[in-house]
């Protein structure tokens, strides 16, 4: 296992303007300097760099490398959150521009902790990370009844749903909720991911989920992968 390194996006020079450099923004996101991240993104917008390019070339490298380090436990929750905050500071400026360019969110994700369980922290971190990665996330909070999940999925025409559970007594409700999606005839319309400390890939298979995320970054990568496959299948 080696310390993940920042991946410099190939050919970024061609996509930026003359004499531009991203290195300081990569570092700002990596180190969680949200003030600087905000400044730098603003400059990039002002010189006319495409918002999509700012996101991909300017913000994601620092975010992704920290995400990988988080997965490998080299950094921990507080540091991941600081990076997320810096990322968010930049994203806040670009998001309206992306929307104006008719860029849709990557996908719509419904997130919540299952019935009987009040643990919030894990799923709220997953939410922040998914939002940063470009998903629209509707967070239903904790102790969520299966019916609420199904309603929200229908209402928002969700692509993906995530169930979090932290208790030995409530992981069982991940299965119950999935079964309810089947009964309601809504199972095929969504991808279902599960997570939370006591869960495992094997439990995900057993309870009929489409995937398991051991930590917030793996959740993001999995969501990215599934949505890309889904879009490809549609095209």
């Amino acid at each position: 296992m080696s310390d993940p390194e920042l991946k410099i996006p190939e050919g970024w020079e061609e996509r930026a303007v003359k004499d531009w450099e991203w290195a300081t923004l990569w570092e700002a996101v990596e180190e969680g300097d949200h003030g600087y991240a905000h400044e730098r993104v603003k400059e990039a917008i002002d010189v006319g760099i495409d918002p999509r390019v700012i996101l991909d070339d300017g913000l994601f490298p620092g975010f992704n490398v920290q995400g990988e380090r988080f997965s490998e436990q080299i950094i921990f929750i507080p540091e991941m959150l600081i990076t997320a905050r810096a990322m968010k500071a930049g994203l806040a400026l670009i998001r309206p521009l992306l929307a104006a360019n008719d860029e849709k969110p990557l996908g719509t994700f419904i997130m919540g902790t299952v019935l009987g369980d009040m643990h919030d922290i894990g799923q709220s971190i997953v939410t922040i990370m998914l939002e940063n990665a470009g998903f629209e996330v509707i967070n239903l909070g904790t102790d969520v009844h299966p019916d609420r999940f199904i309603e929200a999925a229908a209402e928002h025409n969700a692509d993906m749903i995530g169930f979090s559970a932290l208790l030995s007594t409530t992981v069982y409700y991940q299965k119950v909720t999935i079964d309810e999606f089947v009964k309601a005839g809504h199972r095929d319309k969504v991808h279902i991911l599960i997570g939370g400390a006591p869960t495992t890939q094997e439990w995900a298979d057993e309870c009929g989920a489409d995937g398991w995320g051991g930590d917030a970054m793996l959740a993001v990568n999995l969501a990215r992968k599934l949505i890309t496959e889904k879009r490809a299948a549609w095209a």
Partner: protein
């Protein structure tokens, strides 16, 4: 029954037992069904290594993901598997091989200062000279004669039938020379001769992990013996949630857990009376304290909903039950008293701690904290008391720590880092693992030595002494720090602390830290204004206080004001055994202590995340954690 197979289990002594298993069930399921105990610390979730076994003969089932994660490729090649994950395919011979010795677990007994107590236990023995009825004219009976001699107005249907059955013989055996035992005004025993000196009670603290008890003389307050054992429910899950999950919606499993604890208690009583050389029939009062889950299981109350939000207990009030009703066979003449429960996860044990530490009569704000898998804390003074539960998880018991183990022989318990690392183990044996107190001290010293940064990352920074630098290495489990080399103080392998272990500790200590901080916030006191913080419970008493403050497991306060309170839960139970007034006090207190539900507090998350770091206030300015979590 075509689909059964034979499973042969060889224990460490070499003895083997063969049982019939169903093809496709796990080794552990088969073993437990037949009463062979294999420890399942994580509750059969494939998340620990306690159920490790070796396939000695037969088809070696393919390794599951959990096997690979927990055991590593090498052990898998050597036919090690997790019993809870491995499905039986055909006739198999296995040998359970839990990685570390679970024996010799440190138990802690409490000692109560009896002089401060008003000793009236509710049990009284009266020596009488009763007369048998003499004339047929008198409309009387044996028992009415006894009532009359005692001078009490009772009805015969208030006397246990059992006592009436052999009364005629007893009354006449020594011409009415009898000792009558009363509990709270009711007759509970009648013996021939003068037995007024044989008047005993027992206090028992049923912990999720261990059970401790003490046998007391109800007249003098003297402790006659103290005993302890591991909770016999342990094979069904180390933490209480795993036990709830086991019993949830499965009455049979609940009954099984209940059976385990009842027979465990009978065994404990047996040990206690044997040590003190007294008769268990002279135990008249037993006070039991424990967390809500242990309490419910003991009484056979369904725990299904205790494990689901809003985690409500079925009853909160203290109960008094005749032992024969429970049934607790070892103490046929006793009554069992339970102390009241505060909330789903703040049990009678917490209340017993309040009794023992008397913080309810303090002028200044004091606090008590039980550091454990399911941490409980109470804070306040004579004006106001508040409580909460902060679930640290099993890291302090060594679970989910790569080389973690309980406080048994060979566990690293002290760590010193200078030019090199010096570790002390329990019993000064070769190191086989690290226990909770060692883990805390290791992290404190690693922080001091700059091996751990503020955020808990293991970093090989330049300028470290060479011996220290060499101990930092990369492994399959990420970065790790070697505490003991196998050829220098170790037993069979290097004992290292991995990055993942530090992360587990960070979550655990943040839970305790943030629980205490929330209560202080609620009370509006700063750590510096706290008069005293008492560490209760088995684990708290082994923790090095300075290290605990260093890593921010405990709030930043003067270490001289943090004190060990011993096993306060048992002490509280002892007090309630010796003095019925303490039981009344507990009933009164339970209505006064306010329970703070942390999950309902929006500010909890911020404090919790801040509490993961190892360094003090400035860290927040550096990291801006406050703002980050307010995203």
């Amino acid at each position: 029954m075509a689909d059964t197979i034979q499973l042969q289990i060889i224990d460490e002594t070499g003895a083997s037992s063969t049982l019939t298993a169903i093809r496709g069930e796990t080794i552990l399921e088969a073993a437990h069904r037949s009463g062979v105990e294999i420890i399942a610390t994580c509750g059969m979730r494939g998340r620990c290594r306690s159920c490790r076994c070796r396939i000695v003969q037969g088809v070696v089932p393919p390794a599951t993901v959990s096997d690979t994660v927990q055991l590593g490729h090498e052990e898998i090649r050597e036919r090690f598997r997790l019993a809870c994950q491995t499905k039986l395919l055909d006739d198999t011979v296995i040998k359970p091989m839990p990685p570390k010795s679970e024996s010799g677990h440190q138990l802690l007994a409490g000692h109560v200062e009896t002089s401060a107590l008003d000793i009236y236990s509710g049990v009284e023995k009266v020596h009488i000279e009763a007369k048998a009825p003499v004339s047929e004219h008198h409309q009387t009976s044996d028992i009415e004669e006894i009532f009359m001699t005692l001078g009490v107005s009772l009805k015969s249907n208030e006397v246990p039938l059992q006592l009436l059955q052999d009364l005629p013989i007893k009354l006449r055996e020594k011409k009415g020379d009898l000792t009558v035992t009363m509990f709270r005004g009711k007759i509970v025993d009648i013996e021939v001769g003068d037995t007024t000196e044989q008047i005993y009670g027992m206090a028992i603290d049923i912990g999720t992990t261990s059970i401790v008890g003490s046998l007391l003389n109800l007249k003098t307050g003297e402790e006659l013996s103290s005993v302890g054992m591991l909770n016999p429910q342990s094979p069904f899950g180390a933490d209480l949630m795993s036990r709830i999950a086991y019993a949830q919606f499965k009455p049979k499993n609940l009954a099984q857990l209940r059976g385990k604890i009842l027979s465990g208690l009978n065994q404990l009583v047996g040990q206690a009376v044997e040590k003190a050389d007294v008769s268990a029939a002279n135990i008249y009062k037993v006070v039991l304290v424990g967390n809500t889950c242990m309490h419910h299981i003991l009484l056979g109350i369904d725990v299904s909903y205790l494990g689901l939000a809003p985690y409500a207990p079925a009853v909160r009030d203290g109960q008094t039950i005749a032992a024969s009703e429970l049934p607790l066979k070892s103490v046929p003449r006793a009554h069992i008293c339970t102390l009241p429960i505060l909330a789903g996860f703040v049990g009678a044990d917490a209340l017993a701690c309040v009794l023992a530490t008397r913080i309810y009569e303090s002028d200044t704000v004091r606090g008590l904290v039980d550091i454990g898998t399911n941490g409980e804390m109470v804070l306040g003074s004579k004006d106001h008391l508040i409580a909460c539960s902060a679930p640290a998880g099993p890291a302090f018991e060594g679970a989910q720590i790569r080389h973690g183990m309980r406080g048994a022989v060979g566990a690293i318990e002290r760590v010193h880092i200078g030019e090199d690392v010096i570790c002390k183990t329990i019993g000064d044996d070769p190191a086989v693992g690290i226990c909770g107190s060692g883990l805390i001290e290791a992290c404190a010293r690693m922080s001091d030595a700059n091996v751990l940064n503020k955020m808990g990352s293991i970093k090989a920074t330049p300028g470290l002494p060479k011996e220290i630098f060499n101990r930092i290495r990369k492994s399959d489990h990420g970065q790790e720090f070697v505490l003991v080399w196998s050829n220098d103080g170790g037993k069979s392998e290097d004992i290292a602390l991995t990055q993942g272990d530090v992360r587990q500790l960070q979550l655990a200590k943040a839970a305790i830290f943030s629980g205490v901080m929330m209560l202080m916030k609620e009370m509006n006191v700063k750590p510096s204004e706290m008069d005293e913080l008492l560490l209760c419970g088995g684990f708290g008493n082994y923790v090095d206080i300075e290290s605990a403050v260093r890593i921010r497991l405990l709030p930043e306060m003067d270490v001289n004001r943090i004190t060990y309170a011993g096993n306060a839960a048992l002490m509280g139970a002892q007090m309630a055994t010796l003095s019925d007034a303490e039981i009344d006090r507990a009933d009164e207190l339970v209505g006064k202590i306010e329970h703070v539900a942390l999950a309902a507090r929006p500010d909890f998350q911020e404090i919790f995340i801040d509490g993961m770091n190892f360094d003090t206030p400035s860290v927040r300015e550096i990291t801006g954690v406050e703002e980050a979590t307010a995203l």
